[in-house]
Symmetry: C3
Subunit: 352 residues, 3 copies
C-alpha cells in the first residue's frame, strides 16, 4: 500500500506571526518556526527582535535569559549578550571585547503590525514584501476578539479545515446547519497573494448568527487563502452585519500549527455581546476542529502519508496546496512568485 506523502511546504520568503504584541513584555519568548527555535524579545526601545534561540557559546536557549538594561538579550548560562541583529556584544570575564562572526546568532527581520510580531521566514535576509494587513471592520457595533489555539496538524490541513464548508454539516452538525436543502454556487478566483471563493445564494441561517430558517435572505460569503499561512472567512448581510474571521497561523513544526483567530465584526448588537457569543461558539467549534485535525494527522502519520481523493467540492483545499507548494518550489528554483495557472477561476454548484 503506497502511503502517499505529507503536504508539508515551508516557503521562507514570507512573513509569519511569531507572537501577539500583548504577549511580548520584558521577558523573552520562545517559539518555533517549522522546528527552528526562536527567541523573541524587545530591545531597549521596545522594538521587537527575533533571533535563533541558541547562544553561540554553549548553545543554551537565549529565551531562558533576560533583556539587559541596554536592551541586549543576555544568555542565562554564561552571560553572552546579543543585540537584535544577533551580534554578540558582551562576553563576561573576557578582558578584551571583540566581535567575531562565529559569535553571531542568526536573526530574523521583524515588524510589529495589527497587534502581531511578524518575522521574516528566512534568517539574515532582507524582506521583499510587507506583511498582510488585516482588514478594517468599522461602523456600528464594531469590535474585535481574538483567541489562540495550537493544532496537531500540518499548516495545509489547518488552512483547508478553516476554509472548508462541507465538513460543517458533519463535524459541527448540531451547530451550523438547518434541515432544509439548498443549492449553493461557489466561484473560485485568484486574488493578490492567494485565492478566494465566493458563495452565491447561501441562505442566512447557516452561520454562527442564525436567522429563522424560513428567511429568504442570503449571505455574502467569501473564503480566502493568503500566502503563506492566512485563512479568512467573511460573512456579511448588507446593512445588517459583517464579520471577518482571519486565522493568522504559525507553523510551529511540520505537524503542529499555532492559529490566532482574529474576529472583527460590526453588527446591531453591542460589541461585548458579540465578543462573548463569538468566544463561546468559536471555542466550541474550535474544539471539534482541533480534535478532528489531530485524529486526521494521527492517521496520516501512522500510515506514513496522505492519500487524499478530492471532488469538485474541495475547491479551496486543492488550491491551497497548489499555492503553498508552488511558493516553496519557486524559492528553490528562483521561479516566479505568481500563483500557478492551476488555481484558475472555477464555478461549482453543490447541495447544502
Amino acid at each position: 500500500m503506497d502511503p502517499g506523502s505529507h503536504s508539508v511546504a515551508f516557503p521562507r520568503r514570507w512573513w509569519y506571526p511569531v507572537a501577539r504584541s500583548t504577549e511580548l513584555g520584558r521577558k523573552p519568548l520562545a517559539v518555533t518556526l517549522m522546528d527552528t527555535p526562536l527567541a523573541v524579545f524587545r530591545d531597549a526601545a521596545g522594538v521587537p527582535a527575533v533571533v535563533l534561540d541558541r547562544c553561540g557559546h554553549r548553545n543554551y536557549p537565549l529565551s531562558l535569559g533576560r533583556v539587559t538594561g541596554d536592551g541586549l538579550l543576555q544568555c542565562g548560562y554564561h552571560g553572552w549578550s546579543y543585540d537584535g541583529a544577533g551580534q554578540c556584544l558582551r562576553v563576561p570575564g573576557l578582558r578584551q571585547v571583540r566581535t567575531q562572526s562565529t559569535w553571531h546568532v542568526p536573526a530574523h527581520r521583524c515588524v510589529e503590525q495589527d497587534g502581531f510580531v511578524w518575522a521574516w521566514g528566512e534568517p539574515d535576509a532582507e524582506p521583499t514584501r510587507s506583511p498582510y494587513s488585516l482588514p478594517v471592520v468599522d461602523g456600528r457595533g464594531a469590535g474585535e476578539t481574538v483567541f489562540r489555539c495550537d493544532l496537531d496538524s500540518t499548516l495545509r490541513a489547518s488552512l483547508e479545515n478553516a476554509l472548508d464548508v462541507p465538513h460543517t454539516a458533519f463535524l459541527h452538525g448540531g451547530l451550523f446547519r438547518g434541515k432544509t436543502r439548498n443549492t449553493i454556487t461557489a466561484v473560485r478566483r485568484p486574488i493578490e497573494g492567494g485565492v478566494e471563493v465566493q458563495y452565491l445564494g447561501e441562505p442566512a441561517g447557516m452561520g454562527p448568527l442564525r436567522l429563522p430558517e424560513t428567511s429568504s435572505r442570503t449571505f455574502d460569503h467569501w473564503d480566502r487563502f493568503l500566502l503563506p499561512s492566512i485563512a479568512q472567512i467573511e460573512y456579511a448581510v448588507e446593512g445588517w452585519f459583517r464579520v471577518v474571521n482571519t486565522l493568522v497561523q504559525l507553523p510551529l513544526s511540520p505537524f503542529r500549527t499555532r492559529a490566532w483567530f482574529v474576529v472583527r465584526f460590526s453588527s446591531p448588537l453591542p460589541a461585548p455581546v458579540v465578543q462573548t457569543v463569538v468566544q463561546l461558539q468559536g471555542r466550541r467549534i474550535l474544539r471539534q476542529d482541533a480534535n478532528a485535525l489531530a485524529r486526521q494527522t494521527e492517521r496520516t502519520r501512522s500510515l506514513g502519508g496522505e492519500r487524499y481523493a478530492s471532488t469538485e467540492l474541495d475547491l479551496l483545499g486543492t488550491a491551497i496546496w497548489r499555492l503553498l507548494n508552488h511558493a516553496e518550489r519557486a524559492e528553490r528554483t528562483n521561479g516566479s512568485d505568481l500563483p500557478p495557472a492551476s488555481v484558475s477561476e472555477r464555478r461549482v454548484v453543490f447541495e447544502a
Copy 2:
C-alpha cells in the same frame, strides 16, 4: 556486539481475530492488524465488515464515524459513506453521485465464528481456507470463560510463553509447582496447520487444578500451536475433567499482541465455580506473564534484536518460529504452505 534480529513474521493469507462478537455493536470499532488501522462494523443485516480505517477523502479515521440506517459506514468529518466492501456510495453535497475507484477503501473479508469476528489478513483478497474452529468441550459441568489482555510482546514471544512449560516453575513459582522432582517425557509432532507437544507421565498436581502431591494420577496434557496466531493448552484426566485453554491472538503491531483466552472445560464442579477459579488464577498468572513479556520485549528492543540460545527443552518455541517464518516466506515465494520438515517428531525427557 551483534544485536540479532526480532522474530517478527506476518503471514497474511490467514485469519486473524479482530474482535469478540459481543464487543461489536452499533458503533464501529478501531483495531490494528500489524500496525494497519482497521475499522470493524456491522452492516444493516448485522454482518460484520472490516475496512482500512482511513476515509478515502481526507484520511479521517472511519472508526470515529457512525453506521447509517442503511448500514453504511459514514465518515465523521465530511460524511463520505462506505459499504462493507469498501465502496464509497455517498458523498454529501455532491449533486452527481458517481463511484470512483480512487474513493474505494481496502476491505478485508471477514467471518463470524466461535464468538469472534475473524478478518483475512490480506485486503481485497479472497480467503483460501476457513478460520480455525475452537474445540467443543461438553459433558458434565461444561462451561466457558473468556478474558482478554494486550501484551507488549511479539506474537512469537507471546505464543512461546503461553506454551512454555519450564518457565512456570520460576515465573509462577508459588502457583504451579510442588516440591517433588519428576521426570516427564514430551513428544512433539506436526499436526494439521501447526505442531503439538504431548506430555507423558505428568503428575496431576502441576496445573491450576491440584491433587495431593502424593497422588500417582497423571494428566493427559497437550500444548498446540496453530498457524498463524493460536496457542492451545489442553489438560485432562480421563473421567474426571478436561480443560482446553485456547489463546486466540491478534498481532496489533510487531511488538504488541492482543490475546483472548478462551477457556472451555468440563469437571465435577458447577461451571460457575470453575469460571470464578479460572478467572482469578488465570488473571494472576497472566499478570506475571504480561510483565515478563514486557520486560523481555523492552530488553530485546533496547539491544536492537533477540539473541536466543535454545536447548532441547524449548521444544515448541523453536517450532513456532520455524512455522511462522516459513508461512510468511511461503507467501512471498508462492511456496508450499506445508509445515517445514524441521518441525519433525521429537521426544525429550526433562525434569520438573
Copy 3:
C-alpha cells in the same frame, strides 16, 4: 544551517563507576553504560560482578532475577544461572548440564575501591590499568559527604559544567559571587591521565565558604579532569581548610550521565556541620546546573548537534573534549594513550 555534531565519545579501556558499594546488597542492580544494560551483583563471597543484563536464553533482564545461595545470578524467567564471569552453570529441567559458549553472557571485570564498584568499559577483556584513587583529605575536622544526580547531558557537557568557573556568576548568581571585580590568572597544564587548571589570585570569597569581601586572603584552587569521566574541584586555604569535590561519573547513555559528588574536606568546623552545609548548598547549586544542562541538551538535540564557539575562558571545556575524543580514537587506531599535544600549558587572565 549546519547543525554541527554532538561531542559524544566513549573510550572503553577505562574504569567507570557503576554503583556505590552501599547501594549493592543482596539484590542485583540494573544500570546502563552508554546504553548497554548491565546487571551488577555480589557473588557468595560478596565480590561484585557485572554482566550484560540479558539472559542468554530468552533475553530476559538478569537484574530482575535473584542471587542464589551459592552466589549465582539466576534469571527470573526460566532460572538459568550465571557466575560472575558470565558463564551459565545451571539450566533448570535439563538433565545433562553442559556449558556451551552460546550460553555465556558478556562480563565486565570489576573492582571495588573508594566506596564504588568500578567496571571496565570493555566486556570480556582484561583491564590495563587501575581505577583512579580518590585523594585522601585528613586532619582536623576531616569528613566526607556524597550525593548523586542523574543529568540529562552528555558526559562532556557535564564535565565542562562542573569545571567551568565563568558560568557561576550567571547561573548561580546570588550564590557565589561578590560585587568586587577581580583579575584572576588561570594556568592550564597536563597531568597524569588528564588536565588541570590552577587559579592564582582568587579572593577567598568566591566559593561556598565565604570570607568577608574585604579579606585579602586568596584561595588555592585547582580544577582537574581525569579520563574518562572524573571532574575534581579543589579549594584550600593553607592552615584553614581544604575541600576536594570529586565528581565520579557514569555515562548512562550518550545524553544521560549519572554523577556522584564525593566531597572530602577538613576545616575548623565539626564535620557534621560541614556535611550539612555542603549537602544544602550543593543540592541547590546542582539543581540549577542540572536544569541548565537539560535545557542545553534539549536545544542541541532539537537542532541536531552542537555549534559551540569558545574563547580563551573555556580553558578546560575544550581540553576535556580533546582528551576524551583522543582517548576514543586512540583505541580505535591502537594509537598512543598519551594526551594530545593540543592540551599544552597555557596561561589566561580573566575578570571575575
